[in-house]
Symmetry: C2
Subunit: 238 residues, 2 copies
DNA sequence: TTCGTAATTATTGGATACAATCCTGCGGTG
DNA sequence: CACCGCAGGATTGTATCCAATAATTACGAA
């Protein structure tokens, strides 16, 4: 008997879902009344969910003006991937020696799930499976805070990952690279896994960067009417 | 003319302050009504501030039971410092080559502030100055997300840093180590700075670990009456 | 027109009121 | 005496209402 989840957490999941799936695109304003109605709750739990997304950097709040889905600059993107490389390498090297055969097979199963989703061309499912696959390895490092930081970094680019998976060449490359990683993983060859993983990430960042450009062009060409007031006042301390 | 800050942000700062200064100790329950009254606001903005602290890991929420100041296990502590070592080394190596003479003198000034606070035996001020000093360097790396992650990691142990500075030998060692770092920094010797910084951190983790033990003893000896319900049900997914 | 300025409206921020949940302690029962 | 079950009170979660702020429009003078 599952005890009832709070509205905040339901809304939080829903918001995350809508951001990764692109329903809420980067730069969009999040009007509280509208969203509250859509999710069938009042504004209070919605705002609490937004606060969590804000402190994760998924969403930006301009006091008295509202919440906006965070935009990613190219610099931001590169920074995120750089930080990921630092932390993911550490996670892999910590995790791999601890994996037993059963663990590896579990991971392999997750890998298959990705391929299935890729074949079915279900982008959202593929993104989710991909995440489970990678985090199954990271989490095995047994460092919960590390996992948490990595989740934040992944979240930051989720909005674009959905677009990324929409192109079939990307999907195919991802599957191939995962297969290679599984080979190295079965051999417990940490160096090889880290190397492949770095390459995998490098391909990813290149593709997402491309997506980012397209997005920026899109928003500046079409509706130049009304946009998020450029990320300027990030700090304002005494 | 500063435009009026929102209640949430005021409360957020106040909560942070009360956590670092030890007014709210690890494991304490945060009763909403009580805190709201103390800060002179209603529960709504208070809860929003708590949500932010929650997603930073400063505070833990048990649905329908309340918010508690996060406890740190020794494993947590070690993990935090390990992650700091990864990220801070990267920040330093990125930052140091970019610093010009004026930057260095600014940092030196911050270093002096710490010493002043140490002499005055003002623990809270010292902790604050120490933070400014270190983050002046990290921030110079020009990677806002990196700075943000580091802030989170520092926050996680803030509750104990206050205790740490209360012992005068700790204060003196900190000052001495900072002086050494400044010498290496003036010489633009990145390797030396990183090395000294690592040592500095190692001393700190040892001392904070000691504080942590004392804290755990204190809470288990004295009031074993009513404590945070041991971090157990962290996940409970369908 | 164009600029500045005042009313209007939409949206957010905060406070209060109500509902749901959980802890506590009491009394009954085996 | 241990063990349930069940009020009663305390605390959290949510909805509704009101106040404050900012965007927008309308208007008038240079």
């Amino acid at each position: 008997m599952n005890r009832k989840a709070t509205a905040q957490s339901v809304v939080l999941s829903a918001l995350r879902e809508d951001i990764v799936s692109g329903v809420l695109g980067p730069g969009d304003q999040l009007v509280q009344e509208t969203l509250a109605e859509r999710y069938g709750v009042s504004r209070v739990p919605l705002r609490e969910a937004l606060k969590m997304l804000e402190s994760e950097g998924q969403v930006i709040n301009h006091p008295n003006r509202g919440y906006f889905v965070a935009e990613l600059s190219v610099d931001d993107l590169r920074e995120v991937y750089y930080l990921r490389s630092l932390l993911e390498d550490a996670a892999l090297r910590q995790a791999i020696p601890t994996l037993d055969d059963a663990d590896i097979e579990d991971i392999a199963a997750l890998c298959d799930e990705i391929d299935d989703a890729a074949l079915a061309e279900d982008v959202v499912l593929m993104a989710a499976a991909n995440r489970r696959f990678h985090f199954a390895i990271y989490d095995a490092a047994g460092m919960p805070r590390l996992s948490r930081l990595l989740r934040q970094l992944w979240d930051a680019t989720d909005a674009f990952r959905a677009l990324y998976y929409q192109r079939s060449p990307n999907r195919e490359r991802v599957s191939a690279e995962h297969a290679q990683m599984m080979v190295a993983l079965r051999a417990r060859d940490s160096d090889a896994v880290v190397q492949l993983h770095d390459d995998h990430r490098a391909h990813s960042v290149a593709a997402v960067e491309d997506m980012l450009m397209r997005h920026h062009n899109r928003v500046t060409e079409n509706d130049s009417t009304f946009r998020t007031p450029a990320r300027s006042s990030l700090q304002e301390n005494p």
